[in-house]
Symmetry: C2
C-alpha cells in the first residue's frame, strides 16, 4: 500500500498531543471521575505489562534479528499487534521491508505463504509465548520441511532442565543458529505487544524496533503527569452503554488490523464466567466503512437496539487536502462517516486518531490496554489468562492423542 499523501504528516510524533480525540454524548461526569481514579491506580501500581522497561530487548540483542524477508508464525497476541504496526508504518511512508504474518493452518493459505517465503529466501520468526502453541509448532514443521531457516524465536524464558518446551526443542534440534528472545513471563500474549513481540518484527522490517514501545512509554509518562481526559471519557462512555456487542467501524482501512487487535484484547480479557455464575463481556465486531454502509448499516439503524458503535478514523483535514489528487475520495470518506454517525440510533461515539505513524499506534494500544484493565477492575474480574481457551486446548490435545 502506498501513501505519499501522509508522508510528511504521519511520521511526526508529537508527545504533547493526545493520540486521539473522543466525541461522545451521554457520559456521566461521575463516571468520568471514577475512570480517572482507575487510571491513576493502574499508573501508580503498574501491572506487569505496564512495567514496559522490563520488556525492552537491549539494542545489541535486537540488532541481531536479521533485516529482510521474514515469515512470522504466530497466533492472536503473537501476531495481531505486529500486523497493525507494519500496516501503519507502510501507510506512513516508512517503507517497511517484507514481513508476512502467517496465522492460519488452512493449507490453501499456508502453501501460498511457504511459496512466498521460499521464493524470497525469507527467514522464519516464531512467536509463541508458551513455546507450545500447537498451530505454531505445526507450521514450524512445514517450514523446516521446506528448508526454511528459523532466525528468531520469541517466547517465555527457558526454565532449563528437562522442561524444554516443544517449539524451543524443535528449533534447537533443527540446528539453526536461532536468536532466542524472551517475553517477561508475567506478561500475557495479548498484553505483550510492547515486548520483543512488537520489537522484533519492526527490526526485521528495517524500522526502529522501539517505535511502538518508546511511544507507549512516553504516553504512559505523559498520563502520569497530566492524566488522560480522552481515556477517562472513553471508559465512562462504554460503562454507560453496555450491550451484547460493540462495533468498531473503521472508516480508514488502515485501522482494520488495529481493530482486530482490540477485538482480541477485549474479548479474551473481558469474556468471563464469574464465581457467582454471572457472565460478562461483549462481542467486538470490526466493520469497514464506507463498504459496510452497504452491508450492515441497515441492521444497525433499524434493527434491535443492542450494543454500541465506535466510529474509528484518522483525524484528517475535512477538505481531504492531505490526499493530493485523491482529495475528493478523502473528503467523501469523511462526509460518509459523518452522515452515518448522524443517522445512527445506537449509542455512537467518534474516536479520531491523530495520525498514521506507528508511534501513535503505540499510544493508542496503551490506551486500550489501560481501558481494558480498568473495565475489568470495575467488573471484578481478572483480565489476564484465558480459562475457557484452555478448555479448547485440552480438547485438541485429547483428539491429537
Amino acid at each position: 500500500m502506498s501513501a505519499s499523501h501522509s508522508e510528511t504528516k504521519s511520521v511526526v510524533s508529537n508527545e504533547d498531543l493526545p493520540c486521539y480525540r473522543v466525541d461522545a454524548d451521554g457520559v456521566p461526569a461521575a463516571a468520568e471521575q471514577e475512570a480517572q481514579a482507575g487510571i491513576a491506580r493502574q499508573l501508580a501500581e503498574p501491572p506487569a505489562w505496564l512495567a514496559l522497561e522490563r520488556g525492552v530487548i537491549p539494542a545489541e540483542r535486537i540488532r541481531k534479528v536479521p533485516v529482510g524477508p521474514t515469515l512470522l508464525l504466530g497466533f492472536g497476541g503473537s501476531a495481531l499487534g505486529a500486523r497493525a504496526a507494519l500496516e501503519f508504518a507502510e501507510v506512513a511512508g516508512m517503507r517497511p521491508g517484507p514481513v508476512r504474518i502467517l496465522d492460519a493452518v488452512d493449507p490453501a493459505v499456508v502453501k501460498d505463504a511457504l511459496e512466498w517465503a521460499t521464493a524470497r529466501g525469507a527467514s522464519v520468526m516464531v512467536v509463541s509465548k508458551s513455546a507450545r502453541t500447537i498451530e505454531v509448532l505445526t507450521l514450524l514443521e512445514a517450514c523446516l520441511a521446506r528448508d526454511l531457516r528459523v532466525s528468531t524465536m520469541i517466547s517465555d524464558p527457558d526454565p532449563g532442565g528437562e522442561d524444554t518446551a516443544p517449539i524451543r526443542a524443535r528449533v534447537r534440534a533443527a540446528g539453526a543458529n536461532t536468536l532466542e528472545l524472551e517475553i517477561p513471563p508475567e506478561v500475557g500474549g495479548r498484553w505483550s505487544v510492547f515486548t520483543a513481540v512488537g520489537q522484533a518484527p519492526l527490526r526485521a522490517a528495517n524500522l526502529d524496533p522501539m517505535l511502538l514501545t518508546g511511544a507507549a512509554m512516553r504516553e504512559r509518562d505523559r498520563m502520569r503527569a497530566t492524566g488522560s481526559a480522552e481515556l477517562a471519557r472513553s471508559i465512562a462512555w462504554r460503562g454507560a452503554h453496555p450491550g451484547p456487542f460493540s462495533v468498531l467501524w473503521c472508516y480508514s482501512e488502515v485501522l482494520m488490523h488495529f481493530a482486530a487487535w482490540v477485538q482480541q484484547l477485549e474479548c479474551e480479557s473481558l469474556g468471563r464466567l464469574r464465581e457467582d455464575g454471572s457472565r460478562v463481556g461483549e462481542l467486538v465486531c470490526p466493520l469497514r466503512g464506507p463498504a459496510d454502509q452497504h452491508s450492515v448499516a441497515q441492521l444497525l439503524l433499524d434493527g434491535p437496539q443492542h450494543g454500541r458503535v465506535t466510529i474509528l478514523d484518522f483525524d484528517d483535514d475535512e477538505s481531504g487536502i492531505d490526499a493530493g489528487e485523491l482529495a475528493t475520495l478523502a473528503r467523501l470518506r469523511i462526509v460518509e462517516r459523518e452522515a452515518t454517525r448522524e443517522s445512527m440510533t445506537l449509542p455512537t461515539r467518534r474516536l479520531l486518531v491523530r495520525d498514521r505513524g506507528p508511534a501513535t499506534l503505540g499510544a493508542l494500544m496503551l490506551h486500550h490496554m489501560l481501558e481494558t484493565a480498568i473495565v475489568a477492575e470495575r467488573m471484578g474480574i481478572d483480565p489476564y489468562g484465558q480459562p475457557a481457551v484452555e478448555r479448547i486446548k485440552r480438547g485438541i490435545r485429547a483428539r491429537l492423542g
Copy 2:
C-alpha cells in the same frame, strides 16, 4: 493462492449431492416442517431474484466482456459475491485471471489499486445497480483521471430520456466504447449475484460466466424436485435460537468472503423497524478459525449467553489426505474445529460445504437467499429494499450540497 490439493476434487459439480450438510441439535420437528412449507412456497411463486433465467446475459453479449486484468468498482452486493466466486475459483485450481475488486474510498487503498490497474493496463468494470452510487462515481472519476478505460458497466436498464443516471452519463461522456449490461430492475443489489453482477467478473477472469448462475438453477430445480432437508433444518435451527448476534466461524479462510456476502445479505434484508415499532434482525459477525480461538473464543465460551454460532468449513477428509504434504495442517484444522465445537456453550451448529468449486458456491448462495427470504416471511417483513440506508444516503447528499 494456490491449491493443488483440491484440483481434482473441487471442480466436480455433482448435481445429486446437497451443497452442504448441517449438524445441529435442538431443532423442533414442527419448525422443520414449517420451513419445508416456506421453501415450497418460494419455489412455487418465485420472487424476482429466483426467476434466474431473467438475469442471464446472452452468451454472445457476455462474451464481449474483455478477458484480462480488470479493476471492478462496486460496493456491497455489487462486489461481495464476485469476490467470493473468484476466491473459490482460485482455490479450486481454476486459475482465474486477475480481477481486483475495489470497494473502498480510503486514498491509501485506492492509490494502490489504481497503480495496480495502470501497471497492468487493466480495464475498469463498473457495477452499480442504480448507476448512482456515490462511492462508485467518485472512484470512476479517479480511474478516468488516470486514463483507465471503462470496458463494462452493469446497472439497471437505462430508462432513456433525460433520466440518464450520473454514472451512466459519465461513462458515456468519457467516450469509451463501453459494454452496458443490465440487471433486471426488480432484482435488488444483494439479490443480484446470479445476474450480470456475477457473470461478468467470471468472464473477465476467463472462467465460464455461468458457473454460479447455472449451479443455482440446477440447485433450484433439484429442490423443486426433492425439497431440501438441509435448508429446512438450517431455517428451523436459527428460528429456535434467535439472539443479538450470529457468528459465522469460518475454519477455512476461503469461506471468509462468502461470510462477508452472507453478512450483507442478512443484515440488510432482516434488519427492520416494523410498523408496530418493534425491531428485528441480528448482527452477523464472521470469525476466522483457528486464529480466532486465540482472540474471540474466550468471550463465546465464558461470556453472556447471547447469540448463536455457525461453524462453517469444507467437508474435507478428516485425515487431511487432500492436502498432500500439508496433510498435518489440514488435519489440525479439523481437530481444532471439532474441539471448539464441543467446547461451545452457545447454540452451535456445523455447516460443512461440499467442495471449493464456484458451482458449490452458487448452490450455497441460493440456499442462503432462500433462507433469508423465508425468515423474513416469518418475521412479517419485506426483505427487499434498505430503508435505513437511504437515510444515510440522503445525509451524504445534503452534506455534499
